[in-house]
Each structure stands twice: as structure tokens, then as C-alpha cells.
């Protein structure tokens, strides 16, 4: 079939680039993960140590703690972004004065680099002199100190992430919503369906692929978050916001623990893939397959 060959030609550049910049480094990381390697050890060379690193990780309290707070962060942040993002996208489907301006404003957080976001929020939340703790104290008598309160630091990061990334969800969902054909909705209204019914039985199934794709992106990006947290709390207080991205960064950058750091990364990557794969096969793949079978 001629279109098969053409299909591979279309895919080829993508596969080639991802091979050289994704797969090759990955193979290297997997290789290193079976070694003890710290360039500042007495023996600075790579030493093969079998599955020792993998055995160690299972009992590594610091890693497990980091995994825990990361999962908590991802769940809170991504779920809120999805709900808020969807509601805002729906709101943008209506007509109201100044819509274009509001939509532009709403996308502004996206154009700020994570390290800038982290810096601004750090200055806004500096205990006692940042604007937020200052006015919380002055107006409501609430003390907020992200240096001492784990809850305050964690919540600040979740809110910061929601602020930063909800527009991404809104934007992709707008793109999905505007391409929906109007017929099913008209038909449903004629049939007398209520709003919740329309949402559950028509809108949701139709935008599910876009929604899941967005959740995927947010999920894996949240799992990799480094820059903002690095600037804002550095992982503190204690290890309350030491997310996996920060944990791995500390392990391989300042500590130069390349061997074990690689192991953590491989495990994290593996867990991410498994989680996403489960989500994918249960929700998205059946749909895609059905489509393919229609050919």
C-alpha cells in the first residue's frame, strides 16, 4: 500500500530526532544506573554494582518521602487545573464584551518562565515583607511563613502551579471545544436533555481525547517540576516540597551521585510510564483503536 510507505516517511524525522536525543541518552542513563559512580569518590570511575542501586531505592526513606509529596502535589495541582481550566474554557465559549482581551490576559502566565514565576512568588511570599504574608497579617491576622510551615509552603506551590498552568488547560480545551460539531448538541436539546446530561453524555466523551492529552502533559510536567520550586523553597521547609525533580537534581548536581541519581530517574520514569500507560489504555487507546478499525 503506497500510503503505508508515505506514512513512515512522515514519521521518520520525528523518530530520528527522538532516537538521537531521547533514546540514546536514555540508554546511557540506564547503563549508568547499574553502576556506583561519583567522580569525587576515592575511586572516581564507574563501578558495576549490579542491582544494588535498585535494591537500595526500595528502602530509601528520602526517595519515598519525595515520591509521596510529589504525588500529593500532582494530584492537587493537576486536578484543580483540569476543573478550573474546563470551566474557564466553557466560559470562553459564551459571548461577552472584551472577550479577546480577557482571553489574552488569561494566557499571560504561560509566557512567564518557571524561574521567573518562582522568583516573583518568592518575593510575594517572603515572610513578613512579602505582600501576601504582609496583608494576610494586617487584614486578617493570619501568620504565613513559608520558611517554617510545611502546609504554607506546599499550598503556595500548589497555588502557584495552578496560577501558572491553568491557562494551558484552558487553551487546549478551547481548541477542542471550538472544533466540536454543533449537531449532537442541537439534537440533545431537542430531545430535552438537561445540562448535566449533555455534559456527561455528549461534551465529555467528545473532548475526552483532548482532555486526557492535556492531563498527560500536565501530569508529566508536574512530575518534573524543578525551577519554580528551586527558586521558591529549595525543597523546604525540611523536605516538605522536595519533589522528585528537586530530589534528583540535588542527587546528581551538587552531590554528583551519577550512579544512584540515574537509578532514581529510571525508576521515576518507569513509574510515570506505567501510570500514564494505565490511563492511556483504559481511556484513550480503545477510542483510537475503534477509529482505526473503521478504516
Amino acid at each position: 500500500m503506497h500510503s503505508k510507505r508515505l506514512g513512515w516517511i512522515f514519521l521518520a524525522p520525528t523518530l530520528v530526532i527522538l532516537f538521537f536525543f531521547g533514546v540514546v541518552p536514555f540508554v546511557y542513563v540506564v547503563f549508568v544506573s547499574f553502576h556506583q559512580w561519583n567522580p569525587f569518590a576515592v575511586n572516581p570511575e564507574m563501578v558495576f554494582n549490579g542491582a544494588d542501586n535498585f535494591r537500595r531505592i526500595v528502602f530509601d526513606q528520602a526517595f519515598l518521602n519525595s515520591l509521596g509529596v510529589t504525588v500529593l502535589f500532582v494530584v492537587f495541582a493537576v486536578f484543580s487545573q483540569l476543573v478550573l481550566g474546563y470551566l474557564l474554557a466553557q466560559a470562553f465559549m459564551r459571548d461577552f464584551p472584551g472577550k479577546a482581551i480577557f482571553r489574552t490576559i488569561h494566557t499571560l502566565p504561560l509566557i512567564m518562565a518557571p524561574i521567573i514565576v518562582g522568583s516573583v512568588w518568592k518575593l510575594m511570599t517572603t515572610p513578613s515583607i512579602g505582600i501576601i504574608p504582609h496583608y494576610l497579617d494586617e487584614w486578617f491576622g493570619i501568620t504565613m511563613n513559608i520558611g517554617t510551615s510545611a502546609v504554607a509552603a506546599f499550598t503556595t506551590i500548589v497555588i502557584m502551579d495552578i496560577w501558572h498552568w491553568t491557562p494551558l488547560v484552558t487553551l487546549t480545551l478551547i481548541a477542542a471545544l471550538v472544533s466540536l460539531p454543533p449537531d449532537p448538541f442541537e439534537q440533545a436539546q431537542i430531545d430535552g436533555a438537561g445540562k448535566p446530561q449533555i455534559f456527561w453524555h455528549i461534551t465529555l466523551p467528545m473532548i475526552a481525547p483532548a482532555m486526557i492529552a492535556t492531563v498527560f502533559i500536565r501530569l508529566m510536567d508536574a512530575l518534573r517540576t524543578v525551577d519554580e520550586v528551586w527558586m521558591l523553597t529549595g525543597g523546604g521547609p525540611g523536605s516538605a516540597t522536595r519533589f522528585l525533580g528537586v530530589h534528583i537534581f540535588r542527587e546528581v548536581f551538587p552531590k554528583t551521585n551519577y550512579g544512584y541519581g540515574s537509578t532514581i530517574s529510571v525508576i521515576v520514569l518507569y513509574l510515570t510510564i506505567v501510570a500514564c500507560w494505565l490511563l492511556y489504555v483504559t481511556m484513550l487507546a480503545p477510542r483510537n483503536n475503534r477509529r482505526s478499525e473503521e478504516d
Binding site: P39, F40, N43, N145, G238, P254, K255
Partner: protein, 479 residues
């Protein structure tokens, strides 16, 4: 406007002055020595601190004009700087001809043999040896960049002390003095012991509260997620209680715990921790989120009456009106000490605080060693030092102290240069550990838990000592 730290606008003026003074001297030698390397570009990486900025903005262009050798300096953040240098030297790529070596990482680099022996290199290439460069010109700080044979591996370019800063205007205020005397029965003078320091700190925190001022009695670099807090404790607090070199005994199989012969979790370490935490509790509320950056700004904003502040910051706090509200109101003194620590430091058995700084070294992987050696000597001359010391307060050469410009600036800084000159020997750099960052990172998470109160000082220090020993064993230093 004071003499101040204007490497920006006044840099050009300074450079013109410097070159002019210089031209009649040895310009011919530089031109001749550099002739074979015309058009070469040498590249360096450094943290973007004021002294490095001065190299990039003033010394490098000056050198290029004189010799035709171009110098590109990549300035980056503190975290990135190490990583980039290490990756380059580890892989032998040769991206950099010069790397910034902070004093605490030199032992790691020497252990891995990353750096060129500058003494040998210049000995083997006499035609490159500048008449105005001499290793003997450096202050004793240069000793940190020498190996066992006394050969130099880095040209010092900055050196600071972490000093005790206090607010002269408050300490000399008659009303405050009287109130203090009434309350404590002592005169209000800079503290020499920890008890005195606590008393003053408590007094000013209460004073601030009573008078509704944004004023507290001490600073604390006590960030609960950044290594700055770890450093404050190990560099500046523990030594004043007699716990040196992080409490790890290098001569005793790198023991950290008391049980094995170390001092990391000993009674002095616990006492130091408890004292420091009690100071943190009466410091400004931002302290648990303060790194060296915020401590400097806290003091510069006039929010603290006294504190331990890095010398890098002492300069702008005391003299730069665009950044500091306490210009002209700053005094410097030696940190408060426990009994016997000063005597130990004078005898060379201990130290009272941190002597901090950095140098430029030349990696083995450099591809332009000759041209780089010329530039390193250029920035290592006595002649370029005074302007540099005024633009970015650091002194690396003995002769610099006596320069009229520096003497005048010393006044503005409340005698900070005198302190380095006269008392510098009491301070020390980081311990000679090739595993500096590794042990720090292994113990820091536990340290933060002590700060957040999740661990009691004794328990936390016990765990830290255990973690340090485990890491040292893993790395192969401890058997």
C-alpha cells in the same frame, strides 16, 4: 555619593586611569609575550559576583587592548558554575581555559587532578613569566590553592571574611545605651561571648517590639531548604563553640560521630545548635526563608541590630546607598566566642570563622594554556588590585591594604580591611575535604529537619553524624 561599588558606570573611567598608569611600565613586555597568541580567545566560567563582573567589564577588555588576546567570561549562577566546570573537566572537553575555583571545592579538583600546576607551568615557560607577577605578592589566602609542595593551582581573585556586623548608630545611641545598662547591668558594646550576644539580641528584639519598629536583635541565615543555613552553622557557629571541620576527624578514619571519635554530635555541637536556634527565634520573621542573599538585604534594610554577614555583602551594606539603608552606620568586629576558642585559633589549632573566596585555575583540558597563563598573571599583579578592591571589596594581595584608595575605602567599611589584614589569620577556609559537596548534601536534609523542629538537636546531629559516616564509607574515604 560615596566612593562605593560602581563597577558599572565608573568602570570605564577606572580602566582608562589604570591603563594610563600602566602604559609606561611593562606594556612592551606584555605585547611581546602575547605576540604569538594574537587573535586567540580564551574562555572562563565564573559566578557572577562583583569581582567577576569587574574582570569581565574592566580587566578583560584592558587585557585585550594590551595583548590582542580576547577573554570571554561566562557568568552564571552559583549552582550552575560548579556543574559546568566539573562536566567540562571531567569529560576533558576543553570548553574552558579558566574555571572559577571556590575555596571549598579546590580539594575536590586537586584530588581529581583537574587543574594545571601554575608554578610549574610558568617555571617551564620562562618566556611567559611576567615581570610584575610574583606568587609572593598574595596574602596567605593563596595558601589554600597550593598543594603539599607549595605549588600554586589558582590565582586568587576574591577573599572575604564572614564577620560580625553591628549597627554603630544603635550601639552608640545614648538613650539605648542607658536602657541596655539598666536592663542588663552591662555597657552596650559588641559581644565577645555568646551570652553577651544573646543578651544584646534579646534586648533589641524587645526594643523593636516595644517601640513598634521593624527591628530585631540578630540576623539568622536559617533557610529550611537551602544549604545557606547548613553553611552558617558549620562555618560560623560551630567553630565558635570549638567544633571544627564539621566535627569530622580526618586523622581518625574520617570519624563523625562521638562514638567513633568525631565531634559532629558532641555536646559542643549540640550547644552550638541550641544557641543558634534560640537566636533564629528572635531574628526577623524572614530568617527561616533566608539564604545569604536575604541576610544581606535584611541587614541592609536596617532590620537587624547585629549579625554574622558574609564579607561579600559587608561592602555594599556599608557603602552602597542604592542598595542599603545603613550606609555609614555599620561596625565590624570578631564573632562572639566560647572560652578557649580564641586561644586555640591563635595557636593554630582552631579557627573562629570563615575565610571565604575563590581563585581562577586553568584546567588540564584547556587548549590555550599559554594565553591563559598570561591573563591569569595579568589579574594577579599588584598594579590592578586597588581599583578592583574599591569596585568590589576583596583583597588578595598584601600590598593592596596600603594603597591610599583602599585605606580611604576601609574607613567607609568600618575598618573591614583592617580586620582582614590583622585578624584574617584567625579565620579559616573550608576543611580540606575532597568530598565537600557530597557530605553536605547527605546531611543537609536532616539538618533542615532540626530547623523545622521535626528533630531535636541531639537526635538530628546523631543522624547527621551517621549519615556523614555512611556517605564517607560509600565514597571510600572511611573504612
Amino acid at each position: 555619593m560615596s566612593l562605593a561599588l560602581k563597577y558599572g558606570a565608573s568602570a570605564l573611567a577606572l580602566s582608562v586611569a589604570a591603563t594610563a598608569a600602566y602604559a609606561d611600565g611593562h606594556a612592551a613586555w606584555w605585547k611581546e609575550a602575547a605576540a604569538p597568541y594574537q587573535g586567540v580567545t580564551i574562555r572562563g566560567v565564573t559566578e557572577s559576583s562583583p569581582p567577576s563582573q569587574y574582570i569581565r567589564e574592566v580587566l578583560a577588555p584592558e587585557f585585550e587592548e594590551l595583548t590582542g588576546i580576547r577573554v570571554d567570561v561566562e557568568t552564571t549562577s552559583w549552582d550552575q558554575m560548579f556543574d559546568k566546570g566539573i562536566k567540562d573537566m571531567e569529560a576533558g572537553t576543553g570548553i574552558y581555559d579558566m574555571v572559577y575555583i571556590e575555596q571549598d571545592i579546590i580539594y575536590s579538583y586537586l584530588a581529581r587532578d583537574f587543574l594545571t600546576n601554575l608554578t610549574d607551568f610558568l617555571g617551564e615557560n620562562p618566556e611567559l613569566r611576567a615581570p610584575t607577577y610574583d606568587e609572593a605578592n598574595f596574602t596567605t589566602f593563596a595558601d589554600y590553592f597550593k598543594d603539599g609542595d607549595g605549588d600554586l593551582y589558582g590565582v586568587p581573585m576574591e577573599a572575604f571574611l564572614k564577620v560580625y556586623l553591628y549597627r554603630k548608630d544603635l550601639f552608640e545611641n545614648a538613650e539605648i545605651q542607658a536602657a541596655f545598662k539598666e536592663k542588663t547591668g552591662r555597657d552596650l558594646v559588641p559581644a565577645t561571648t555568646h551570652t553577651e550576644y544573646s543578651e544584646i539580641a534579646q534586648f533589641f528584639t524587645d526594643y523593636g517590639k516595644a517601640n513598634d519598629l521593624e527591628l530585631w536583635g540578630t540576623t539568622a541565615q536559617a533557610h529550611t531548604g537551602h544549604v545557606a543555613s547548613w553553611y552558617e552553622y558549620y562555618e560560623s557557629v560551630a567553630p565558635t563553640f570549638g567544633v571544627y571541620n564539621w566535627g569530622i576527624d580526618a586523622n581518625n578514619n574520617y570519624a563523625a560521630s562521638v562514638a567513633n571519635g568525631g565531634a559532629m554530635n558532641g555536646p559542643e555541637a549540640v550547644e552550638a545548635m541550641e544557641w543558634w536556634l534560640s537566636m533564629r527565634d528572635i531574628a526577623p520573621p524572614e530568617s527561616p526563608a533566608s539564604t545569604w542573599t536575604e541576610v544581606g538585604t535584611t541587614f541592609g534594610a536596617g532590620r537587624a541590630a547585629q549579625g554574622l554577614v558574609y564579607g561579600e555583602n559587608a561592602g555594599w551594606i556599608a557603602a552602597d546607598e542604592t542598595k542599603s539603608l545603613v550606609v555609614g552606620k555599620v561596625g565590624v568586629a570578631l564573632p562572639p566566642l566560647a572560652d578557649g576558642v580564641k586561644a586555640a585559633a591563635e595557636a593554630g589549632d582552631g579557627y573562629i570563622g570563615y575565610y571565604d573566596g575563590g581563585a581562577f585555575g586553568m584546567p588540564h583540558s584547556s587548549k590555550n594554556k599559554e594565553a591563559t597563563a598570561l591573563f591569569l598573571q595579568y589579574i594577579g599583579q599588584n598594579e590592578v588590585q586597588p581599583d578592583w578592591a574599591v569596585a568590589a571589596p576583596r583583597v588578595t594581595h598584601t600590598a593592596t591594604y596600603d594603597d591610599p584608595k583602599v585605606v580611604a575605602f576601609n574607613e567607609e567599611l568600618g575598618g573591614y580591611y583592617d580586620l582582614i589584614k590583622d585578624k584574617g589569620y584567625l579565620f579559616a577556609g573550608a576543611p580540606a575535604y575532597p568530598f565537600h559537596a557530597q557530605v553536605r548534601e547527605a546531611t543537609a536534609p536532616i539538618f533542615y529537619q532540626i530547623l523545622t523542629g521535626d528533630l531535636a538537636p541531639q537526635d538530628g546531629l546523631d543522624q547527621m553524624a551517621a549519615a556523614a559516616e555512611a556517605t564517607l564509607t560509600e565514597l571510600g574515604y572511611r573504612n
